[in-house]
């Protein structure tokens, strides 16, 4: 491919995308997409406040390409369209050409950028090849936040109907459906699951814990990614075990009107982001809860932590991540983790949404080091970590599984293999799903778990079986 053909802002031939779209779209707009997109962009500029950011970025972006080497997608694909600055530039070019005076004048004088159907096809794909992990933002000398621009690009696309069906259907159920959650888990099924978890815990640790449901005036109202109720019972039992062992069993509750922490609005839409946050706040207010406790999930934690104050105002309830809560209990000596239980080599994957900002990096490591003798870190880690390849909602889009395995997650798979770990801890519903698929795809000799799955094995439960007894029982069961 000649360099001229891939200059930023110009369209590139998309042989694959023309045959099959990158992802399924429910009701794609087929006519006049250019007009629709410009109308949507104009509305966004009128009512939101992205203008200052676009003005600044579109003048000063230096095209230095430092972002390229930090991008785990580009590292594998080598496709210039995956360079974060290329993707950002598409949106900046549209803004410059159609919404600034300078751009309008320039367009009269020369054959500059023009928004065409091909550019929209390009956007449709490149904005969803990015996992919105924001690693590039850290390497940009200007500080251009490619993650934020990608999100804005997706937002504008969503306003003309271009949004992966998988995300749209889930969000519709969450905001307008009867169950108010992305996995369509009805209240009855939730209660069944909680009963099942309670029985399992009883068998495992020998203590009956009835999950507190719809209790008012509790310290914590608990929200996890709702899919955890279907797919991650060990994480939830681990959460419960910590709350019970810490003596906080009568201080928390799960609401039955809304129990989903997932917020896909973080990935593609301001409107959805705000309304899902409001729905979550309504439930906490209904139960008169004092804090919002978010289970193991990267984007759920970030969307609540960062956007409850934005949309709920200064009086909104504080958001606590379950990892922070567990560490506090550990430091206060309210829970004890047996250091002789976990003999496997364990590593930790930082979910981008909580680690990139530096919010949750050391806390899980402090917890793990306290009871895992054979703990090993990946390189790079923490704020510098590589995305699992399923970020930005990509993991929920089944039709791009092949892309997520071969390109998005390749760097992570290599990184995992290098640690030689038996267990990789990923405290995030999205990362867990993606990493499990990666482990299977690349046949890596390790298991993917949540942080509290591991804690469940080593935590001492007052009045229950000891961790050593439980380990023995589990070994017998496996034989």
């Amino acid at each position: 491919m000649d360099a001229k053909d891939i200059a930023p802002g110009t369209s590139v031939p998309l042989p694959a995308a023309e045959k099959t779209p990158f992802y399924y779209i429910e009701k794609p707009v087929t006519e006049n997409r250019v007009d629709h997109l410009l109308r949507a962009f104009a509305a966004v500029l009128e009512f939101t406040d992205y203008k200052a950011l676009l003005d600044s970025y579109c003048t000063s972006s230096a095209k230095c390409n430092r972002c390229a080497v930090s991008c785990p997608v580009y590292m594998v694909s080598g496709d210039p369209r995956d360079i974060p600055c290329y993707r950002t530039n598409i949106l900046l070019e549209i803004y410059k050409r159609y919404f600034t005076i300078g751009g309008a004048i320039k367009a009269r004088l020369s054959n500059g950028f023009e928004l065409t159907e091909e550019v929209i096809d390009d956007m449709l794909e490149v904005f969803y090849r990015c996992t919105a992990c924001r690693r590039c933002t850290q390497s940009c000398p200007m500080g251009v936040d490619h993650g934020l621009v990608t999100r804005l690009g997706r937002y504008i696309l969503s306003l003309i109907g271009i949004v992966p069906k998988a995300l749209q259907v889930s969000v519709r159920e969450q905001l307008e459906g009867e169950t108010h959650n992305t996995s369509k888990v009805p209240k009855e099924a939730l209660l069944d699951t909680l009963g099942f978890l309670s029985d399992e815990l009883n068998d495992m640790v020998g203590v009956k814990m009835e999950f507190p449901v719809d209790r008012s005036d509790r310290d914590y109202v608990f929200f996890c990614a709702v899919s955890d109720y279907l797919m991650e019972p060990d994480t939830l039992m681990g959460n419960a075990a910590v709350l019970y062992a810490a003596g906080d069993w009568d201080k928390w509750t799960i609401g039955t009107t809304n129990y989903d922490g997932i917020n896909y609005g973080l990935f593609y839409s301001d409107w959805h982001l705000e309304n899902i946050i409001k729905q979550l706040l309504a439930e906490v207010t209904r139960l008169r809860g004092k804090n919002i406790l978010i289970g193991e999930c990267g984007h759920a934690s970030r969307s609540a932590h960062d956007f409850v104050p934005v949309f709920g105002g200064p009086t909104a309830q504080p958001v606590v991540s379950f990892i922070e809560y567990t560490l506090r209990c550990l430091r206060e000596g309210r829970i004890k983790l047996d250091p002789n239980i976990i003999t496997e080599r364990v590593t930790y994957h930082d979910p981008c949404n909580v680690a990139r900002s530096g919010w949750i990096v050391d806390q899980p490591r402090e917890i793990l080091r306290s009871f895992v003798p054979n703990f090993v870190d990946m390189t790079p880690k923490g704020q510098d970590n590589y995305c699992c390849g399923g970020g930005g909602g990509l993991v929920s889009i089944d039709e791009i599984h092949d892309y997520r395995m071969r390109i998005g997650g390749k760097v992570k798979a290599d990184q995992l293999a290098k640690t030689g770990a038996d267990i990789v801890i990923a405290p995030c519903a999205n990362c867990k799903k993606q990493l499990k698929e990666l482990v299977e795809y690349y046949e890596l000799p390790c298991r993917v778990m949540g942080l509290h799955d591991l804690i469940l094995r080593a935590i001492e439960i007052p009045g229950g079986k000891t961790p050593a007894e439980r380990k023995e029982e589990a070994a017998l069961m496996e034989m």
């Binding site: 509305a43 009128e46 200052a52 950011l53 080497v69 936040d145 306003l159 301001d270 705000e274």
Partner: protein
């Protein structure tokens, strides 16, 4: 006009005019940014994590950690290049006279030896950066015409300034060299506010992404109302 008069013109009125264009152009960027931030973000500005923003920005002043990641050679050259383009034009002894005469500012000057070294070093850096743009496939794929042009525009005043102040290396008439030096620098002044070189002031605003993540409450609703009316929007 003879060439001496041209030089006087370039040093006097033209310098004042082009410097003014640069100053006003950059001020315009600052005013627009501050205005947009204050009117659009309003009270949400106070909610932004300013300490973190400042810490992040400060980490780029001496970006050892950042330079070592990914592209150490390119980043080092780029960083050192910035030292040259800031220090030489501002603190060169001959320029200080100019600042004092036209702007009334008295600045300390660097020694001629340092000035020569930094000038040649900056020129070398420009050539390396140009080399990256031309021969690095990744960079070439992203480069616009202006990215090459700007490097040449920066190269010119440095090269001509060096030749003008070192007659033994200068194959041309001093006056010609001096005039080209003045005009090329003034061209750069004019270009700065209209190109990516405006990052002289905009880099500070680019770093405010944490502020921009403080989205405007209710805006999503208004956008949807404007586009779809009150229909279903999920």
């Amino acid at each position: 006009m003879n060439i001496e008069q041209w030089i006087d013109f370039a040093k006097g009125p033209l310098f004042a005019l082009t410097f003014m264009i640069m100053a006003l152009g950059l001020a315009r960027h600052i005013v627009i940014q501050v205005y947009e931030l204050v009117t659009e973000k309003g009270r949400r500005l106070t909610a932004a994590p300013w300490r973190k923003i400042l810490n992040d920005a400060a980490s780029w002043v001496v970006p050892v950690k950042q330079i070592m990641k990914g592209t150490p050679f390119f980043s080092s050259v780029s960083y050192l290049f910035h030292i040259g383009v800031i220090v030489v034009p501002v603190f060169l002894a001959n320029h200080i006279v100019l600042w004092e005469k036209t702007l009334g500012i008295d600045l300390p000057s660097i020694s001629p030896g340092w000035a020569d070294f930094l000038t040649l070093f900056t020129l070398a850096c420009v050539l390396v950066l140009l080399g990256f743009r031309i021969f690095g496939s990744r960079q070439r794929s992203m480069s616009r015409r202006i990215d090459y042009v700007l490097l040449v525009l920066i190269f010119l005043p440095f090269a001509t300034g060096f030749l003008a102040s070192h007659p033994s290396f200068n194959p041309f008439r001093w006056e010609v060299m001096m005039l080209v030096h003045l005009l090329s620098a003034e061209l750069l002044f004019v270009v700065i506010p209209f190109t990516k070189l405006a990052h002289i002031v905009l880099f500070g605003f680019d770093r405010l992404s944490a502020v921009h993540w403080q989205l405007r409450p209710g805006a999503g609703d208004k956008v949807a109302d404007a586009l779809f009316g009150k229909e279903a929007r999920v």
